[in-house]
Amino acid sequence: MKKLFVLMRPYLLLSIGVVLLSATPSLFAGENNLKFSLFRYGQTVIETIVQLTKPHSLTLYTQTQTLAFPTMPENRSVEFLDQITERPLFPEVWGIVIYTAGLIIASFTIAIIMAIVLGWMTELLPSIFKKVLLKCCSLLESMPDLFFVFCIQLFVVWIYKQTGWLAANPFTSSKEPALLIPLATLSIVPGIYLFRMMLLLSETEVDKDYITFARSKGISKSAIILKHRLSNTISELSTHFPIIMLLLFSQMVVLEYLFNMNGVIQILLSEQPYETKAMLLLLIVTPLFAAVKGLQKVIFKRRNIHVE
């Protein structure tokens, strides 16, 4: 029981933090103007937590705007009528949550695998290549992520214009969701980051004793890299996973707008009750947290066995 509590405590505190964050508008919102009030904030937070314990009573607002024409004899002016309909949150939202969280986690996996494979391949190359690659990577990494997004979108459309072959649809249409290009754009920046980290970290590994020992035993270079250096670098790399997740999620926020995707962010930013927003945010954050912590745990466990 106590072990479970220790295991769950970071997650519980994380969820409380998420609830605290999602209730922030009530810190400033007065009746008609800005009014700072800590008391109202506390009230909202407690209400939100109480509501969150009853997930089936949560609702989702949908705004619709309809164009209305008054009857003919009057002048032909148009009127916009705002309508808000309320629906239960579940199971409506599952598909959307899975789409967003799935994209993030898939590109997380792609970035890690790409970085490891590329890192292993560059280790086999002569060291001049490595230096040039490192310089290139740190240059690319300093670019804002939107630069890549625009370039990829332009590139896909350019190929389509030239050859008539659409590699993947660059925008979500009503028929099919965009999948491939968001995945590619999402995983590029974290991939570069991880790759550079791999190269830097494995550089510090070279001078360590076990490498010299392995080499003196006559183990071939590629075997040393694959078996010893790589696994040690990966465990060093795992401390950077939370940063990668943050990078991915913050890119996802922008990509959802740029690729016109039907994801969670647009629901979060529309007018919704606090508890719905908190619930949606929790649903997204939970798998990301689980992925990072789980992966770290697996890597550390393997490393401990190696040490023994």
Partner: protein, 307 residues
């Protein structure tokens, strides 16, 4: 000093030059007039905006015919100054918090609570907080006045970075206060103020400089991400030429770069160069700051090693 970190100073003077040019040029020259069309008698050639780069318009014009070079130069100061204010305020507040509440930041439950900043990106936090106040439709009015908008934006943008930064600073201070000389000073009866001022601060300084550089780049990226959702610093102007709302045009009040990128984004598939001009300028700015930071970091690392 100058010869040891040449890249840092090159970047620094470049930024100062851009800032100065951006303040002086709009005062000295008025905005070039918009040409609705170009026509030459000899060639019988008719051309309408957007013009591609030429002698009159160095970087071309946008769809209305505004000179992109002039707009870029005019907007540079807003981008740099806003990012500067936010970064410095963040660092200042978080240094104070980190030093005073060192123990709170290092306690495990509080750092687990702050973890939410590690899993929810700052752009989303800012958008969640500000969207009820600042998002409005074409036919509605903004709830807040311009000064209120600016105040709220600055407040939220500063606040969102303070806690994670405070944690970094508290961790660094904790690490520094475990060193032998601090323990010695403590045993000899130095007050905690004296230890902070004499022993911890001199070592914290160089790290703070590097932190400022990193924060600056992060704030710029954050501003860009917010601008994509039409959340411009200083407020948004919404206009529409059509009867239906499909083609609303969102523009920032100033010619601020991130706002330009967002406003020109719909030209991406039509006239890519219009959006690529501010994007390239912005990318170069971020690149410049990152190179400066890296140079500074390398310098401090070398100095530390040589000691």
């Amino acid at each position: 000093m100058l010869s040891k970190i040449p890249l840092f100073f090159t970047g620094f003077f470049l930024l100062l030059f851009i800032l100065a040019a951006s303040i002086v040029v709009p005062l000295a020259f008025s905005e070039p007039e918009v040409n609705q069309f170009r026509y030459s008698d000899s060639l019988k050639k008719l051309d309408i905006p957007p013009y591609s780069p030429s002698k009159e318009n160095w970087l071309g014009t946008d769809r209305i015919g505004k000179d992109l070079f002039y707009i870029l130069v005019d907007g540079a100061k807003y981008t740099i100054l806003f990012a500067c204010i936010i970064t410095l305020a963040r660092i200042l507040i978080s240094v104070i918090l980190g030093l005073f509440f060192k123990r709170l930041f290092n306690s495990s439950w509080f750092s687990d609570l702050i973890q939410s900043f590690q899993y929810v990106p700052p752009s989303l936090i800012v958008l969640l907080t500000l969207s009820p106040f600042l998002f409005y439709e074409l036919r509605n009015e903004s709830v807040l006045s311009t000064s209120e908008t600016l105040f709220l934006q600055l407040l939220v943008l500063i606040a969102v970075g303070v806690l994670p930064l405070g944690k970094i600073i508290a961790e660094t201070t904790e690490l520094l206060s475990r060193t032998d000389y601090v323990i010695c000073a403590k045993l000899m009866g130095a007050s905690s103020f004296q230890i902070t001022a004499k022993h911890i601060f001199p070592h914290l300084w160089p790290r703070l400089f590097v932190l400022v550089g990193r924060q600056f780049a992060q704030v710029l990226t954050l501003m860009l991400h917010l601008a994509i959702y039409h959340l411009f610093i200083g407020g948004v102007q919404i206009t529409s030429g059509q009867e239906h709302d499909q083609f609303n045009h969102y523009a920032s009040v100033s010619n601020e770069w991130t706002g330009l990128i967002s406003a020109y984004h719909k030209e991406l598939m039509l006239e890519p160069f219009i959006v690529m001009v501010p994007v390239t300028a912005f990318a170069l700015l971020v690149l410049c700051i990152n190179i400066m930071t890296k140079d500074l970091e390398q310098h401090f690392k070398n100095r530390f090693l040589s000691k």
